[in-house]
């Protein structure tokens, strides 16, 4: 058997001579796969930036149009008008809260009776209409059919009667009377049962009675509302003028872009005759500059008018707001009244400052790029797709994301860390074997299923709970929307508990046994050992667990998209803890909701990518901090 001579170093194989061999190729193949992760990360960053960075110049141009077309000028007055409307709405709400609070019993009784009757008529309407149809057509195809229909109706009626809603505020005799009157109804009976009408009348008279002592206040509110009419008319008038200018400028921008692309095409065209044609087309499409100065001049002429109207409004409001009652008997109404009292000096101050703002405003003040960045980061409105002006301000979304995360962490930290301490320190092996897989199981629930649970089950349970009289002391109860920050926070807490639990448990597990042995030897009790020795030793690990949980909560999409209520507005913090029961929108939710609908390459589309960049940066920052803490423990 011939011995194969391996190539000596002096005379290597011809592949090896060139620094290349099959083995090396395999190695480089695997290395390139490892490098793929780097490529993906780079691609993510590059493409987010590529799509996102175009946002700021585009938004700057939009803001510039907003200014040179005079929309900004109108918005100075409009802002005051909105503030005025909000203030009067708060006053109105306070007024009605006062009245309804005083006759809450009548209101509830009336509502309950009506609910019973409505439930009945909803359930039986289908068969009732069938009978009516049958009679209307006049087809007398034998009473057999009619009999079937009547029979069906009777069955449905019985079923409906068996499943009427509860009426905790009606006495038993009243309920029995109501049910009896419903039972006695014929197919042809129209109108409400007598009790429903009577209760509604009772409620109306109670309302009138309660309104009597505060009739003076009613007239105050009415005159306050009326004071805004002048400003409202002025704003409407100016709005029409500036929208026309804006449209003209925007159309001009579009034409300009077309012309540029035509010119670019002409520069690339190979055929000289085609180039000529494209150039000619571009020249033709050269639109005349829209007339900005003319409308602007006429708008500027309105300045004194605006100032005068604002001064008049201020004078009127100052007098009226001074006549507000000092306090109200109903707590809800009183809260609203206090809010209005607090807001009214601010409102008056804003009105005073307006005249100066109006005189100083200039339409030719340049809009630097930093303005668009500032407007994005500190803007309080995220308004898109409107006829007036689109604003991309991140604050409402950020506020929603942060508040939801806050609720989630407030619930998940005690639960997750507490469970980890219990399982690691106190539980028997059997308990460990049962509880650990169950909690890890929660991690496997897909987030869209959690969102489904929230929207169909949890939200409804929460709303029903909040309507119980016994729980009325909880701030924010009864809740207005069943999908709100709190609902989303609860579900996200459930979602982040497994993450926090397993990482915190790992951290506790990693504390050397010598620590607890030493503590035991010194005579410390189990609790002392756990809380004074083990937890401090594992603290940075637990902190890392919490941070990673936070990263997961902020980045979660489907739950908040389904459950947070999707109202793009900074929550109204004057409600105290009740703020957490308001609907909201989030950074992740807005991307998921709007990316499918925006035109490619528009400013709105790019704004969503900027939100993505922000999210990416925030989550990476949180995770990097967490890993720093993890490394500290292992070192």
């Amino acid at each position: 058997m011939p011995i194969e001579i391996s190539p000596s170093p002096e005379n290597p194989h011809r592949f090896q001579r060139r620094g290349f061999s099959c083995e090396r190729a395999i190695k480089y193949f695997f290395a390139s796969n490892a490098g793929l992760t780097l490529v993906i990360l780079l691609l993510i960053i590059v493409f987010l930036l590529k799509e996102g960075l175009g946002f700021f110049p585009g938004y700057r141009r939009e803001l510039e149009i907003y200014r040179i077309a005079g929309l900004e000028f109108v918005d100075i007055s409009r802002k005051n008008l909105t503030a005025h409307e909000q203030l009067s709405s708060v006053l109105n709400r306070a007024y009605f809260a006062q009245i309804n609070g005083q006759c809450a019993r009548e209101l509830k009784r009336s509502q309950e009776a009506a609910a019973v009757f409505n439930a009945f008529s909803d359930q039986t309407s289908a068969t009732r209409e069938l009978i009516a149809n049958h009679e209307a057509t006049g087809m007398d195809r034998g009473s057999e059919m009619l009999a079937t229909l009547n029979n069906n109706h009777a069955c449905q009626k019985q079923k409906a009667l068996d499943s009427l809603p509860l009426t905790p505020h009606l006495s038993d005799t009243e309920r029995a009377e109501l049910i009896e009157s419903i039972r006695a109804r014929d197919v042809t009976t129209v109108g409400d049962p007598p009790l429903v009408t009577a209760l509604a009348q009772q409620y109306a008279s109670a309302q009138q009675q309660c309104a009597m002592p505060i009739a003076e206040w009613r007239s105050v509110i009415d005159s306050f509302e009326a004071a805004g009419a002048d400003l409202s008319a002025l704003v409407t008038e100016m709005t029409d003028a500036v929208t026309t200018t804006k449209e003209a400028i925007q159309n001009n921008d579009i034409l300009e872009n077309d012309r540029k692309s035509l010119l670019a095409a002409a520069a690339n065209a190979k055929d000289p005759s085609e180039r000529q044609k494209l150039m000619a087309e571009a020249r033709d499409s050269l639109a005349e500059k829209p007339d900005i100065e003319g409308p602007m001049q006429s708008l500027m002429l309105r300045k004194p008018d605006c100032i005068a109207t604002h001064a008049a409004l201020r004078q009127a409001c100052e007098g009226i707001l001074a006549m507000l009652p000092p306090s109200l008997s109903q707590s809800d109404a009183n809260r609203l009244l206090l809010a209005a009292r607090k807001a009214s000096p601010l409102f008056l101050e804003a009105l005073t400052g307006t005249s100066q703002q109006i005189t100083q405003w200039r339409h030719d003040k340049p809009v630097p790029l930093s303005d668009s960045i500032r407007s994005f980061l500190t803007g309080k409105d995220w308004v898109t797709g409107g006829a007036w002006q689109d604003f991309y301000g991140i604050l409402p979304l950020l506020a929603g994301s942060l508040m939801i995360s806050m609720v989630a962490l407030c619930l998940a930290i005690p639960a997750g860390v507490g469970a980890a301490i219990y399982i690691n320190q106190f539980a028997s092996p059997v308990e460990q074997a049962v509880v650990k897989p169950v909690i890890e199981f929660i991690a496997a629930i897909p987030s869209v299923v959690l969102g489904f649970i929230g929207i169909l089950i949890f939200g409804t349970i929460l709303r029903d709970l909040s309507q119980l009289d016994g729980l009325a002391w909880v701030p924010g109860f009864p809740i207005e929307e069943r999908l709100n920050i709190f609902t989303a926070g609860c579900l996200l807490a459930l979602m982040s508990i497994p993450t926090i639990f397993s990482l915190a448990e790992d951290a506790l597990n990693n504390v050397p046994a010598a620590f607890s042995e030493a503590s035991d030897a010194l005579g410390a009790s189990r609790i002392q050992t756990t809380f004074r020795v083990i937890i401090p030793a594992a603290f940075s690990g637990i902190l890392a667990a919490v941070l990673l949980g936070l990263g997961r909560v902020i980045g979660e999409t489907m739950v908040v998209l389904l459950v947070a209520g999707n109202r793009i507005k900074i929550p109204d913090f004057s409600a105290g803890l009740g703020t957490f029961f308001q609907p909201s929108h989030t950074l992740t939710g807005i991307i998921a909701q709007e990316l499918g609908e925006v035109p490619l390459g528009s400013v709105h589309y790019r704004a969503l990518f900027v939100v993505g960049i922000l999210l990416f940066a925030v989550v990476l920052g949180i995770n990097a901090t967490a890993h720093k803490f993890v490394n500290r423990t292992t070192n």
Binding site: E23, F30, A31, N33, A34, G35, L36, T37, L38, I40, L41, L43, I44, F47, L48, K50, E51, A126, T127, E129, L130, M145, L149, G418, A419, I421, Y422, F426, V434, V435, V438, I439, F441, I442, A444, I445, P446, V448, V449, G451, F452, I455, L456, I457, L494, S525, I527, I554, E556, T557, L562, T588, A592, L595, L600, G612, L615, V619, L620, N623
Partner: protein, 375 residues
């Protein structure tokens, strides 16, 4: 009284009650989590199981699993009998009862028929993305555990893996949308307007056009694969490292090359571990909604993915329905009523069953593997 502990801690120690209370509170927290989780499962099982399982043989409602998704029509006929029919059966009914009026008609989108489309779509997305992620992930893990030495490159790769694992799924959705849907190269004879670079191939009028794959199965698979890659790499590296160093040393000492060593002495022993942990990754891929919303999923589709295709490759470039996206549609876009509950809870139940069986499977397999492979 021979137990030394009892001798030392004679009687109730001072902090005994505090001790008990703290322990009780912690225990109550733990069991509260367990009970809430159990209640949620019970609720879904209670409402969803009747849709799938029936009391008569064969005990499983295959119609729901195997029918296509349709709009549900609810109406009364002249006799006052209430009908609930999916769109196709409804049209047949109208034809069969020519001119007979119907009353109280209501329609519910996505609520009739079955969910075979979403199930198939999820299966295709999962298989496609797992094939991609396993191939690239295992190769990367082999490099990291078998070849890599300390170097700036390795450091950067590890950092990238760590960071990729933390990126929110919606950002992966944005990434997939801007890269796979809008920017990757395709070979075509008709480049689209949005292509940012075209390279002529000089074969006919074919060009390489960077215009993306549109919203399609392949774009969704690629996005999901990128998302799951760090999980696969970490898990694979762990099971590769679990193979004792002695195996490699022995093989290398026998004169085998590094690749022969990997192929014959490392991979066969770590493969079960890799596959087991990738089962867990499957549950994540199957459950994600955000990355596929813009890259692959579509709410309503009449055909199954492979029906009415000109050639088999078009399967990759067609949109699919997906179970998580279907659930999102059912939860967010249609009002809940007694007629939609069957579709809603049924879909969620099937989905939970699927995901849970995968995750239980992976847990059991892992336990079995740990007891078998000990060296």
């Amino acid at each position: 009284m021979l137990n030394p502990e009892l001798l030392i801690r004679k009687g109730l120690p001072k902090g005994h009650f505090k001790d008990r209370i703290v322990r009780w509170i912690l225990g109550a927290t733990t069991y509260a989590i367990v009970i809430i989780a159990a209640l949620l499962f019970l609720k879904i099982i209670k409402d969803g199981a009747p849709v799938i399982f029936t009391s008569k043989a064969p005990f499983v409602n295959f119609e729901f699993l195997l029918d296509k998704n349709e709009t549900l029509h609810v109406f009364d006929d002249a006799q006052g009998v209430r009908h609930q029919l999916p769109a196709s059966a409804y049209n047949d009914y109208l034809k069969g009862h020519n001119g007979v009026p119907i009353y109280n008609q209501q329609t519910f989108s996505y609520s009739g028929g079955g969910i075979v489309g979403p199930i198939v779509g999820t299966a295709l997305l999962t298989i496609g993305s797992m094939v991609l992620a396993l191939f690239f992930g295992v190769c990367a893990a082999i490099y990291l555990s078998e070849y890599a030495k300390q170097s700036p490159f390795i450091h950067a790769v590890r950092l990238a893996i760590l960071n990729l694992a933390g990126i929110p799924s919606i950002v992966f959705g944005l990434f997939g949308f801007s890269v796979f849907v809008l920017a990757v190269p395709v070979i075509t004879s008709a480049p689209s307007d949005r292509s940012w670079l075209t390279i002529p191939l000089f074969i006919g009028d074919m060009v390489v056009s960077f215009q993306g794959w549109n919203s399609s199965l392949i774009a969704g698979c690629a996005t999901l694969a990128c998302m799951i890659l760090p999980v696969i790499i970490t898990a694979s590296e762990e099971s590769l490292r679990a193979v004792p160093q002695g195996f490699r040393d022995a093989s290398l000492a026998m004169g085998a090359t590094r690749w022969q060593t990997i192929r014959t002495c490392v991979l066969p022993f770590s493969l079960p571990g890799i596959l087991t942990s990738s089962l867990l990754a499957i549950t994540r891929v199957a459950g994600e909604t955000a990355p596929i919303m813009f890259t692959a999923a579509v709410a309503a589709k009449d055909d199954l993915p492979w029906e009415s295709l000109a050639n088999p490759w078009d399967l990759l470039s067609s949109q699919v329905q997906a179970l998580p996206y279907h659930i999102y549609t059912l939860a967010a876009r249609i009002p809940s009523s007694e007629y939609t509950q069957r579709a809603q809870y049924g879909s969620v139940f099937v989905f939970i069953l699927l995901v849970m069986s995968l995750s239980v499977g992976s847990m059991l397999l892992r336990a079995k593997l740990r007891s078998r492979l000990k060296w």
